[in-house]
Amino acid sequence: MTTFKAFLKIVKKNLWLIIMYSAILVFCVVGNNHTSTGITNFTATKPQVLVYDHDESEISKNLTKYIYDRSNQPKIADRDDGLDDALYYNNVDYVIFLEKDFGKKVANGEKPKIEVKSAKNYDAYLAETILNRYMGVVNSIAPASETEIVKSAEVVLKNETKAELTTKIDTTALSNLARFFTFLNYPIIAGLVFMVAYTTASFKREMTKKRMMVSATSYRSINSKLLIYNYGIAMILLVMYIVLGLILNGDMMFTSYGWLMILNAAFMSVFATTFALLLTNLLHSNNAILAVVNVTAIGSSFLAGVFVPIEWMPEAVVNLGRILPSYYYTNSNTVLTSIEEFNFETLQPVFINLAVLLGATIITIIINNILTKKQK
């Protein structure tokens, strides 16, 4: 009980760290989540588009409506560089400027030139195909009166190629869930490892160590207690993150996907706790622990595709990431999003990843034991 009280006292001291990393997790996840419609029909991706209509003619108004029905209109800062800022940060993908007499030129069959600002990303490309399609149709109908062009264009434009989805799962909700668990890698490494390492290191300080050696409690008993407490802390934090996940993802947490991702996070937490114990054997200063934890947390998160999608990274970097347990943790979350039916064959990559995490944990324990033996 005395050990537990001392342990809790140190944990309490570092609670602010857990709160900070949890806040980062929430901001990251909420900031990147997409609204799930819950439907499994084809839903077109909507780019972020703004139209500045300086003409306000029948055709320009119809074009604006056509574009806005197929895109989102983001809010931008109300200042001179607000638009350029929004384009720079990809908050706006495409901006269309419709000049004065735009409608008149279309009606006369003059095919007016259109000025745009494009962020030159995939969404901007999509926005441009929508604009091109509209202009292609109205230019092909012209010359005619604006009313006639709009009327005829509406008939043609309402025909769209039918798209049928093979998946029966709500992919938006599933990718939000996967994103939550993938981001979890950062608080697990940064928060949990630091908390465990820092707490255990306090018991390894020379004076504390000497006091424990002369106490009636055996060294082995204290060590095993510390181990249990640390894994206990890891599990309490995991439960806390599951509750957070439940708030952010709702019922998705209780699907097979959710349970498997929780299992994956539990394996990662066990590895992280073991890694933290190894750190306390290697490093004796709290500052050094803080340094290593920070580098490991940010480094592994970047290399494992937590902050940047792994498919955007050069192959050499991805291969380098494979030496990190975080890679296998995030990979399981990604693999799970593409599984439709759960069976041994489809889940095999996830089992392999879990085995790698388990293997990494066992190797860390062995190294830890060798080091402890040597230190004696």
Partner: protein, 362 residues
């Protein structure tokens, strides 16, 4: 001068301090470079892989075949698809499930084609858009006549540069640890050397000034190393206005100097806890300034601007952003003035507290 030299020696002998202020930002910069070096290529448009199930019975099939072939020309600038033709849909269903192809185009005997996709997404939407365009062109009975589109937006730098700006800002503020540690050594409540100084017959003002100058020089050396590493070794382009960038970095370092003094004087806690406060404050600030995803800075700037107006990491990041993208405009000068006001406020509070500080006498 001698005191300055000794202080510099003491500072550079502190391995932990050198790690946080010199090595840590360089390590982070390396991670950023590794993770982001492929982003530009990833954003370039890649042809969408599709499979077309042949059906000669459909009258429209030859028209579609010709158009799809045109859009799949490997050498063409307008290439949209990477297409393969199959006799039966079953041949490619597994490929669709494994996401090796994005869609399957099937033709019934007498209708427009149907698109089968695994899930909704960007490529699937583009695919549906292109086929809709072909369908509408066929309905009109002629080729669509497009308007010329002129793009007038050409940003000087990729948006991922925010990561490097925030890294520079973070490195600036991590420098606060240098002044905190240096000042702590001169405070009677923090170190034995401080007690000796408190009773010694030497000018305290001179000591404090030496400490500040040493800290500032050390910070600038660290920032110069980071900047040289990013620009020379990693090849990150910060723009051509090098003297202004250097000048701005020197101003930003003033803020970290005053932040370090503030933390040293205000918080009556251990040295380690002071380091924790500096790194926690800076890292959290860096997160809001876009270090873990540039979008975060924009979202905060737009929805909760007060946070980033008070966040020194974001103020410095915004200064670099404004300078590199828009030059020395009003926004850049706002950042400079904000930094100076911030530094002045922190320093004034610290001086007031320092002047009132008294220790028990015999």
């Amino acid at each position: 001068m001698r005191r300055l030299w000794y202080n510099l020696k003491i500072t550079f002998k502190n391995k932990e301090l050198i790690f946080w202020t010199f090595a840590f930002p360089i390590i982070l910069g390396t991670f950023f470079y590794m993770a982001f070096s492929g982003i530009k290529t990833a954003q370039d448009f890649e042809p969408i892989k599709i499979a077309v199930v042949e059906n000669e019975k459909n009258q429209l099939y030859p028209v579609y075949h010709q158009i799809i072939d045109g859009l799949s020309e490997p050498e063409s600038e307008n290439r949209v698809f990477e297409t393969k033709y199959v006799k039966n849909q079953d041949e490619v269903t597994a490929e669709l499930d494994e996401k090796k192809i994005e869609g399957i185009i099937t033709f019934s005997d007498n209708d427009f084609p149907k698109l089968t996709i695994k899930e909704s997404g960007m490529n699937q939407t583009i695919l549906q858009n292109v086929f809709t365009e072909i369908e509408q062109s066929i309905m009109l009975g002629k080729q669509l006549e497009y308007s010329e589109i002129k793009n007038t937006y050409a940003p000087r730098y990729e948006y991922i540069m925010i990561e490097y700006f925030s890294l520079m800002a973070m490195a600036c503020l991590y420098g606060a640890m240098i002044s905190t540690k240096a000042l702590d050594k001169n405070l009677a409540n923090m170190a034995a050397s401080g007690k000796r100084i408190a009773v010694a017959a030497i000018s305290k003002a001179k000591i404090i000034v030496t400490v500040l100058v040493t800290s500032y020089i050390t910070q600038l050396i660290g920032l110069a190393l980071l900047f040289a590493y990013l620009t020379v070794i990693l090849g990150i382009d910060f723009g051509g206005d090098l003297p202004v960038i250097i000048g701005f970095t020197c101003v930003a370092a003033l803020l970290s100097l005053s932040l370090g003094i503030f933390i040293s004087v205000i918080f009556k806690v251990s040295e380690n806890t002071k380091d924790g406060i500096t790194s926690g404050f800076t890292m959290f600030g860096a997160f809001f300034a876009g270090m873990m995803g540039p979008e975060m800075k924009y979202v905060i700037d737009l929805n909760l601007p007060i946070i980033n107006k008070l966040n020194p990491t974001a103020i410095i990041t915004d200064g670099y952003y404004a300078l590199v993208n828009y030059g020395m405009n009003e926004r850049f000068w706002t950042s400079v003035i904000s930094i100076l006001i911030y530094a002045a406020v922190l320093s004034s509070v610290s001086i007031m507290v320092l002047r009132r500080q008294k220790y028990d006498n015999l």
